[in-house]
Amino acid sequence: MTVAAERLERSWESPTVLARVLATVDHKAIGIRYLVTSFCFFVIAGTLALFMRLQLAGANQDILSSETYNQFFTMHGTTMIFLVATPMLSGFGNYFIPLLLGARDMAFPRLNAFSYWVFLSAGIFLYSSFLFGLAPQGGWFAYTPLTEEQFLPDKGLTFWALGLIFLGISTTAGAINFIVTIFKLRAPGMSLDRMPIFCWAVLATSAMIVLAIPPLTGASVMLTTDRVLDTHFFDAGLGGNVLLWQHLFWIFGHPDVYIIFLPGAGIVSEVIPTFSRRPIAGYYYVALASVLTAIIAFGVWVHHMFATGLPQVSMGFFAIASIGVVIPSSIQIFAWLRTLWTGRPQLKLPLLFVLGFLFTFIIGGLTGVMFPMIGFDQQVTDTYFVVAHFHYTLIGGAIFPIFAGFYYWLPKMTGKLMNRALGHANFWLLFIGFNLTFFPMHIVGLMGMPRRNYTYDEGFGWAIYNLLSTIGAFILALSIAVFILNLLYSRANGEDAGPDPWRAGTLEWSISSPPPAYNFRVTPIVRERDPLWMPDGFDWADDAPETGRRRPVDPLQHELIATSVLDGNPDSVDEMPHDSYWPVILALVLLGLFYSLLTEQFWLAGLAGAAVMVAIGGWLWPEQLAAPEEGESA
């Protein structure tokens, strides 16, 4: 190790074990935490689903009581949407956005650590409801007035509403961090149109999060005050409006579908070019399609409400808007197809999972296009047809790409290649298990089986399809076990990956696997898209550019170069914050605040609120900047 690298290590690595665990602001450590934590939630919520599948394997079964079943499907949906899909993609974003951009960290490293701790705390908060037997049972959509205190008097729904408000802090902070990172921390020369598509996807997603979370948080606050302070926002009898909840929820809820899908599509847009051995076809169109999806997504929420008796003309408007979403999706699909077609595809594991993605997502997309047919929607909404549809889009659109992402990027994270045989077993079990679970649901849905029923009678022809779904669910679960086995096995015994096992084109493959704490010893200067593939794609900036405002960047300090939003010209040199315990402290006092609100101990909530202010003060307290070490200046 060179002297320079050693110095950088010292500057960027956590000084002690305790600091590494609780105080680190390294985006890679935080990214891995997001991935591991959300994967744990994935396994938990999947296990809830297995219990539900057992209950529904035959008619009139008695494995779960109606109350437990209702709690399980509520927590399954809530977990998969809020604690799995979004944070898992945040994990990939956290780890890889700075690497793809050629940056040394996220724009706000402490806020990043805080986002993770709040995510973990909110997850624990939501799941602690099980300990008291008070898990929410209002469904992940929590329609009022069922979720009002009058109809579900126990604390379950208060847990749910407060948990989502709490989690919204994490998601929003994370999204702002991504936006600023993507706009300001791209390597010099990486203009917006040289940025990898995954970054475009995360940028569009983050913008959607910033706009979509407030309606959800607002609605959850109203629900909480209805339950705790006896307000009447959703009480039709006292002048409230029941449908207000549905509008607010779906103004969040429909964009959220794309919040989950777009980053997955972004992963696909990295994997397909790498394994087709050519740059992505129609870069501008694919980038634009992400942005367009994000915009249209906010204009279609009413198609979740076609059975609520809205006027024909309003429904017609939202129906036509809903079919408009097809265009950006078809742009992406045909860009991927063109890339595969005019390249030389190599069917390695990540691409195999991408094929699984295309197969399932296209089916999910095609059933999705059917919902704007209002009459048909009114027939199949709230049946298993819809359950089938959105699992095809969400598992197809997110889980398959996430696995493609794991097989593509885990070698970068662990330094070891994944085992091929186990990877193939993982894929085929997932593919067969998934389709066996969810394809029959289309059929039972059309045969009249409603969702969210803890049991059903014989005589409708539903039982055989449900049995198939249950068998499929266990095959799917097996595939997840095989993946975990593969990860553990390959981490210990896998072949060395080297810095660039796929000979890919983006910057993360230019540094060692796993990357050092400081990522890039020297900040790269980018001249092309896919810089590693182009003869003069990028340079190592040995002579740091003069930024005009401050001294030239010193590549040996705890600093990075911020660049201009559009062109990626060097803008300033920013001293980056070191490890800090304040993020975890602030997250913990917030957790205390939410528990005291839950138990309606308002004096305690006041105390916790004061503690929050103190923690924020501590966080913002000016630090003495360390004097540069002797001889460090370049």
Binding site: I327, I331, T342, P372, G375, P450
Partner: protein, 348 residues
């Protein structure tokens, strides 16, 4: 240009590799067969609205199946075709050709298909919205956790969980709720319409032929959402007139000693707080009207068949069948229970 060189080298062996498509085909075939003779299947429509919707489904399915086959076929061909040249070499992007391809197939073609589809949507909606202004009957449905109150305002009929309509004629149904959101749904006749607090919604139903069509609450409404079913019975005109006539009868005062005793058990117990029987002092509104309980086919909103044994078991411990429902267990002696059931079974 490279493409045209590759096409002749199309590798038939790789194309014939086993694929999941046959499985999909088999499942699709079973989908076609599904729905025959089921009492709650949208694929077995028995009324004009449901038929229109089912037709739109089959048309959309056909288009979707063709689209899927083409796109997935192209993807698989692109991946499995035989390749030439150095497998690791980077092919350059072809900005103009790439753009033309993506704009043609990603925007123009789907755009044209979607414009046609939008026309199809509007055409179907106009057809479905074409309600008859002179319905043969007006019915009010009021949702309760977890049963259906059914009222015929023009005929002074109040019943529950069983809706009789004249076959072959349009019937206007207005839906409201007494508590949370429910959704009224008879798949063989029409799509769903939600029952929402503070809102009155309407739907027009028509059954082509006499028959019994099952419906079920389709919006999650709490503990016993799964046991909130009902039936729509379409009668020919004579049967319908007879049914109306029967439901309008106020039960005569019983003369049989046993029935008088049974009525006394009913009126002297907690039953009256929640249930109504016309012609008596029982006028509770929390549970279903029992004036003609014996004429109905099920108990507990489709939970169990209406038989003597089931009725007894339901009265003693309905929680066993439908945990969480609002009817408490009744503590009656054996003879009291027998008399009560005799009385209830006389309420036809």
């Amino acid at each position: 240009m490279e493409d045209s060189e590759r096409t002749p080298g199309f590798n038939i062996r790789s194309f014939l590799r086993p694929r999941p498509l046959p499985i999909l085909g088999a499942l699709l075939a079973s989908l076609v067969l599904a729905g025959c003779g089921d009492r709650q299947s949208a694929l077995d429509p028995q009324g004009p609205a449901a038929s229109t919707i089912a037709l739109s489904w089959w048309i959309m399915l056909s288009i979707a199946a063709i689209t899927f086959s083409i796109v997935m076929g192209l993807v698989l061909w692109a991946v499995f075709r035989r390749q030439t040249g150095d497998p690791d070499e980077i092919s350059p992007a072809q900005p103009d050709e790439d753009s033309r391809f993506i704009l043609t197939w990603g925007t123009v073609v789907p755009g044209l298909v979607l414009i046609l589809f939008a026309g199809f949507i509007i055409y179907t909606e106009v057809a479905l919205a074409d309600d008859d202004d002179n319905p043969a009957e007006r019915i009010e449905i009021i949702g309760h956790q977890w049963w259906w109150e059914v009222r015929y305002p023009d005929r002074d009929i109040i019943t529950a969980n069983e809706i009789h309509i004249p076959a072959g004629e349009p019937v206007d149904i207005t839906v409201t709720t007494a508590d949370v959101i429910h959704s009224f749904w008879v798949p063989q006749l029409h799509g769903k319409i939600d029952l929402i607090p503070g809102i009155t919604n309407e739907i027009q139903l028509e059954a082509d032929d006499p028959g019994t069509y099952r419906g079920q609450c389709a919006e999650y409404c709490g503990l016993q959402h799964a046991h909130m079913a009902f039936t729509v019975v379409a009668d020919d005109s004579d049967d319908y007139a007879a049914w109306v006539d029967q439901q309008q009868q106020v039960p005569a005062n019983p003369e049989d000693q046993d029935l008088i005793a049974g009525r006394q058990v009913f009126l002297g117990s907690a039953c009256v707080y929640c249930h109504r029987i016309a012609g008596t002092n029982a006028s509770g509104e929390i549970g279903p009207d029992l004036t003609h309980i014996a004429s109905r086919e099920t108990l507990g909103a489709g939970t169990i068949e209406n038989s003597r044994g089931n009725l007894a078991a339901w009265i003693i411990d309905s929680q066993h069948f439908k945990p969480g429902n609002k009817m408490p267990p009744m503590d009656l002696s054996g003879p009291e229970l027998q008399q009560l059931i005799d009385y209830l079974e006389s309420l036809e």
